[in-house]
Amino acid sequence: MKEDHLQEEMIICRCQEVTEAEVRQAIDQGCRSLKGIKNRTEAMMGLCQGRTCRRLIERMLSESPQQMPVTQSYRPPVRTLTLNTLAEAEEGGENAC
């Protein structure tokens, strides 16, 4: 009993304070993709952008009966930078990224 309770309260995404139970609930509601978990729970959207929690969530998804292939891209910036630094940066061309 006590252990179950601890599981429920366990935080899986520290940056966003999303619990394992919240991720479990999303999976139970039919979510089978990382993108879906992100949209439903806001996990993986914090300061570290999922570097800490993504692996754990991938594992939960892969253990669920109807798993999907995992495809999710990382978006820039990979390091944080201030708006001022960005505002003073070179624009680059139409297709620079």
């Binding site: 993108k35 879906g36 949209n39 439903r40 944080t80 708006l83 990224c97």
Partner: protein, 401 residues
């Protein structure tokens, strides 16, 4: 499987329609090719905006919709964070002042509470603008913000509570059409017979239309947004600028600079967690949802020029979403004479959150054959308002290889 109503698309619009139909007692199945929130409804800002709406049916729909959220907030099991914040539209140049004044005058006549503020009044309301060169602003105290993902989830869970079924990660193979009437949807989860199909596919609505032999004039209009680290309350209101309004409604009035071609216009909101969402662009680049360095730099330049207090704040990510854009920027909420049993509810451009509640209500009343409680004139939202030539010209103009 059988349902009164099959809804295609699990964005904010499809889920709002599911909620209103299920609550009215209809049996509902919603089909989504991925998970709910797969499209634009999770790649957007948080504004329930009135001041960015054109006086007329556009503003009337937004006014009707915004009145519904406080009651929905009480009814929903999910917290949608509906908060009345007001909006400030910053005016940077003399020549914008008259245009914004007449826009504000027309909005006032339509019942919106808009006032013109001089630079001192602007700064008093928005200290984060200290140091910016502004000629003033317009301000409306009725606009609100909302949690976009939670809004869609709230409609979804509410619909499920009223018995709606969701088929996620489901592929539609074809629509069953008999005697010019849609009678079913064939999916990889089986055949669903139904009386109504609602196309709520957002920017994908034209592809769903094609499967029924219909041309629906919607193209994607990309918006890029920067997200900052959480910071203490920086803004008391939503902030936009005069250029944002021009980019939204009159891109033809913009010049030929890189900024103007990307449709750069300021949008700034702050979430409950404290993250700032700083935008944005309005670009026609097909179904490309990448962010670009060029736009990110220009968004940062424009944003920090109007709100210098942003300068020392870190950004942690960026994203882009596709607004479903129609030739006149109004959504298509329409039945189709040549195809009975079909309702289109798509093309809400940058207003889908704001207009979701009124759209859900309208579609459920159309299907029930009831007079519309909103009194909205559906002819202005019909697919038939576009002629064959309008549609061809539109696709030609935005044709993307």
């Amino acid at each position: 499987m059988h349902a009164d109503v099959v809804i295609v698309g699990g964005g904010v619009i499809g889920n709002a329609v599911a909620f209103y139909c299920a609550r009215a007692g209809m049996s509902v199945i919603l089909i989504e090719q991925q998970d709910i929130l797969n499209g634009t409804s999770s790649a957007c800002d948080t504004a329930i905006h009135l001041q960015s709406k054109n006086p007329g049916i556009h503003l009337a729909m937004a006014l009707n919709s915004i009145k519904k959220y406080p009651a929905l907030q009480k009814e929903f099991d999910v917290d949608i964070h509906f908060t009345i914040t007001g909006t400030m539209l910053a005016i940077q140049r003399e020549e914008q002042w008259e245009v914004m004044k007449s826009f504000a005058d027309r909005q006032k006549a339509a019942g919106l509470n808009v006032s013109l503020l001089d630079p001192a009044q602007t700064l008093a309301k928005q200290p984060a603008m200290k140091g910016a060169e502004l000629v003033g602003s317009t301000y409306c105290d009725q606009d609100a913000t909302i949690h976009p993902q939670n809004l869609t989830k709230a409609y979804c869970f509410g619909a499920m509570k009223h018995g709606a079924k969701y088929l996620l990660y489901t592929k539609i193979r074809s629509f069953r059409i008999e005697d010019n009437c849609i009678t079913g949807v064939d999916t990889d989860q089986g055949m669903i017979s139904c009386r109504w199909v609602v196309n709520a596919g957002g920017v994908f609505a034209p592809f769903i239309g094609k499967m029924m032999g219909l041309d629906i004039p919607i193209v994607p209009r990309r918006g890029q947004i920067l997200v900052t680290e959480p910071v203490p309350k920086l803004t008391n209101t939503i902030v936009n600028c005069a250029k944002y309004i021009a980019a939204k409604f009159r891109p033809d009035l913009l010049g030929n600079s890189v900024e103007d071609r990307l449709g750069i216009g300021l949008s700034l909101t702050q979430t409950e967690r404290g993250n700032l969402l700083l935008g944005g662009t309005r670009e026609f680049v097909g179904y490309n949802t990448r962010t670009t360095r060029q736009a990110m730099v220009l968004i940062a330049k424009h944003g920090t020029a109007i709100i210098p207090a942003l300068k020392q704040i870190n950004i942690i990510r960026s994203f882009a979403g596709l607004r479903p854009y129609t030739p006149d920027s109004l959504p298509i909420i329409s039945t189709v004479p040549e195809l009975k049993g079909l309702v289109i509810a798509a093309g809400h451009e940058g207003d889908g959150l704001a207009l979701s509640a009124v759209t859900g209500e309208i579609v459920s009343e159309m299907i029930a054959g009831k007079p519309l409680s909103s009194g909205i004139d559906l002819s202005q939202l019909s697919l038939a308002r576009f002629s064959r030539e309008d549609i061809d010209r539109f696709y030609h103009k935005y044709a993307i290889a």
